[in-house]
């Protein structure tokens, strides 16, 4: 018969009231766990979407290339570096990519574009581009003399599948780089800048045309998980082969991305705090009622010699038991729900198409993590604790005689 049991029994003195209170907390906990998992999940999707479309989780570049994409700022022996990177734990894919500014010309029109040299078989694992091909097909290993072209650029140059286009630019050494390509695929990413001014060719073609020798502009590393990025970075930094190179992580490669997520998270957290405060006020009433209807009992307890602090502790224990039950139940249900939907995914209906355009999955998958499972319940716990404190702290003011007299 510990105080705990006493408190637990007190909780169930008015089962209906306690149940409703617990339900309110369960509701808040379920919602917080699920929504936070959902938010974190979508952040990971966002990171992955960006990462897939362009940056990768990590990149190795020549110093200065990130600020000014000049042809000659290359990672010299790129293939050799790939062999160094691939065995590192947590690395799921290493792709080489080069890019150059060049003049693309169709029959009548010309336009300055960015040409990407990619390794199709490796990019395929990380890029959303194959899914965004609206006409024709994606590049394949061994392709030669063929190009993928953005849909807006295609319209502008009046090109379609099977048409020839020419490309004129400058090689790494400044010499003239020119080539003739047959269009085999047209993509729409939904990002106008990409669709309007980019062309993709194979890495091998690029190397040949732009006299890159063994070099590449970017070594793009994709990690298994976001958490692997730091250890991979450390592994690279300690490797002498990378000493003269720059290692950049996704948040530096896409600076707006992190802030955009922070912004979203903060607005989310404001919403959650409002929610929790509303729940807390609902709960506060229960706590107060439980306190007032037992004033006389507290008088008896004080009379027989219980110290006020003990009673405060007892009341807090009761409230917290209620809260804990709610939070525990809610967290469990929330986790269950999250796990279910993390397999099932949540469809956004019509919105899905919109998202797909931007390289997102048309289904969202909430992702359970320690953070998403604990953050909401912890917030709930803290706020309800302070809520419970309000009535509990009235005990020391209680005079036994008055308490005994109250009905």
């Amino acid at each position: 018969m510990g105080d705990m049991i006493l408190a637990w029994r007190n909780v169930w003195r008015n089962p209906r009231r306690s149940l409703l209170t617990i339900l309110a907390i369960v509701f808040a906990a379920v919602l917080l766990v699920f929504m936070l998992s959902f938010q974190f999940g979508s952040y990971e999707d966002m990171i992955n979407a960006t990462v897939r479309q362009s940056t990768g989780h990590l990149q190795v570049q020549s110093p200065g290339y990130h600020d000014r994409q000049e042809m000659h700022l290359v990672v010299a022996d790129a293939q050799h570096l790939v062999a160094e990177i691939e065995p590192i734990n947590g690395v799921s894919n290493v792709a080489l990519r080069s890019e150059a500014f060049a003049l693309m010309s169709g029959e009548k029109r010309s336009r300055g574009t960015t040409i990407f040299g990619i390794q199709p078989e490796k990019e395929k694992k990380v890029t959303t581009l194959p899914r965004q091909i609206k006409q024709g097909r994606y590049l394949q290993k061994g392709d030669h003399g063929v190009a993928l072209i953005g849909s807006l650029l295609a319209k502008r140059l009046q090109l379609t599948i099977g048409d020839e286009c020419t490309m004129l630019g400058q090689g790494k050494d400044g010499s003239i780089a020119a080539a003739l390509f047959t269009i085999i695929g047209i993509y729409t990413t939904g990002v106008d800048a990409v669709d309007r001014a980019t062309v993709h060719i194979t890495f091998a073609d690029f190397n040949h045309i732009f006299f890159m020798e063994k070099a590449a502009h970017r070594v793009i590393i994709t990690a298994e998980h976001l958490a692997d990025i730091t250890p991979i970075t450390q592994a690279l930094q300690s490797n002498p082969a990378f000493r003269s190179l720059t290692i950049l992580t996704w948040d530096k490669l896409a600076p707006g991305l992190r802030q955009s997520m922070e912004l979203d998270l903060i607005s989310g957290i404001i919403m959650y705090i409002i929610l929790v405060v509303v729940v807390a006020f609902s709960v506060l009433n229960t706590f107060f009622m439980a306190f007032f209807e037992r004033t006389r009992e507290f008088g008896v307890l004080l009379s027989i010699g219980a110290r006020p602090a003990r009673l405060v502790r007892m009341i807090l224990t009761e409230s917290m038991l209620l809260t804990f039950t709610g939070i525990a139940l809610g967290t469990l249900i929330g986790i269950g729900l999250t796990v279910y939907f993390s397999h099932q995914g949540i469809s956004f209906g019509d919105g899905g198409e919109l998202l797909a355009q931007y390289g997102f999955e048309d289904r969202f998958y909430p992702r359970l993590s320690w953070m998403s499972a604990c953050l909401g319940p912890a917030l709930l716990l803290i706020i309800t604790f302070f809520t419970a404190l309000i009535p509990a702290l009235k005990v020391p003011d209680l005079k036994p005689v008055d308490a005994l007299r109250s009905c």
């Binding site: 003195r13 009379s303 005689v401």
Partner: protein, 227 residues
């Protein structure tokens, strides 16, 4: 030997602007082993006096010594400890904690005293047997009759061997047969274990049982009769 010494105690209640002297310069002494009743009509100040002796109310004037200790010199926490160690309470009604069983209610005070659980259990068992409710140990107060509840209250009051047990109208909500049984029990405690009892009551039966009856009137001692 004096357990309680009340010296020139006054207690004034304020109700709005009007003053009400519940106790007016009262002095008395209660010795160990006494079985005393504070009598008088409603508002005569008997409950106030009982509360003052029990340390759950404080005097405006005068001193109260309990077991030689001046109650007014004690802080809130010390007062609570004093009540815990030296005083047992029995109230008119709603005495027990509804969520605890009979045994647990009795045991609770021992827990507060931090007495080891083995000793606790023995003591509770013994005292429940003494009050004749050994078979009701695991019942909740709501499952007990009024008389049984008061017996448990008595058990709780005496289980920690306090210097004095204060009972405020313990028989008020009982029928006369049950009330008598309760008084028998307390009398037995008094004779067998030398527990000192002080009652605040206007029940004639209690006064009959008492060996000393102090009658209060308008906050003053009108009469003090030892039988």
């Amino acid at each position: 030997m004096a357990i309680v010494t009340v010296n020139n105690v006054s207690r004034i209640y304020h109700q709005g602007k009007t003053e009400f002297k519940a106790l007016d310069d009262v002095s008395l002494t209660i010795n160990k082993g006494e079985f005393t009743a504070l009598a008088g009509p409603s508002g005569s100040g008997k409950t106030t006096l009982l509360n003052l002796i029990g340390g759950i109310d404080t005097a405006d004037k005068g001193t109260i010594l309990l077991d030689g200790q001046d109650l007014s010199s004690l802080k809130k926490g010390e007062l609570a400890d004093l009540r815990l160690q030296d005083i047992g309470f029995v109230f008119q009604s709603f005495n027990l904690i509804p969520v605890l069983t009979a045994a647990e209610n009795v045991e609770y005070i021992l827990r507060l005293q931090k007495i080891p659980s083995s000793i606790r259990r023995q003591k509770v068992k013994a005292i429940l047997a003494d009050v004749g409710l050994a078979d009701k140990a695991d019942q909740r107060p709501s499952e007990l009759s009024g008389g049984q509840q008061q017996r448990i209250a008595v058990a709780r009051a005496v289980v920690a061997s306090p210097a004095i047990v204060l009972a405020d109208e313990p028989t008020a909500n009982l029928d006369s047969v049950t009330g008598q049984k309760l008084l028998d029990l307390m009398q037995q405690m008094n004779t067998d274990k030398q527990v000192t009892f002080v009652f605040a009551t206007h029940d004639k039966m209690v006064m009959d049982y008492a060996r000393r009856v102090i009658t209060l009137k308008d906050g003053r001692i009108a009469d003090d009769i030892r039988k």
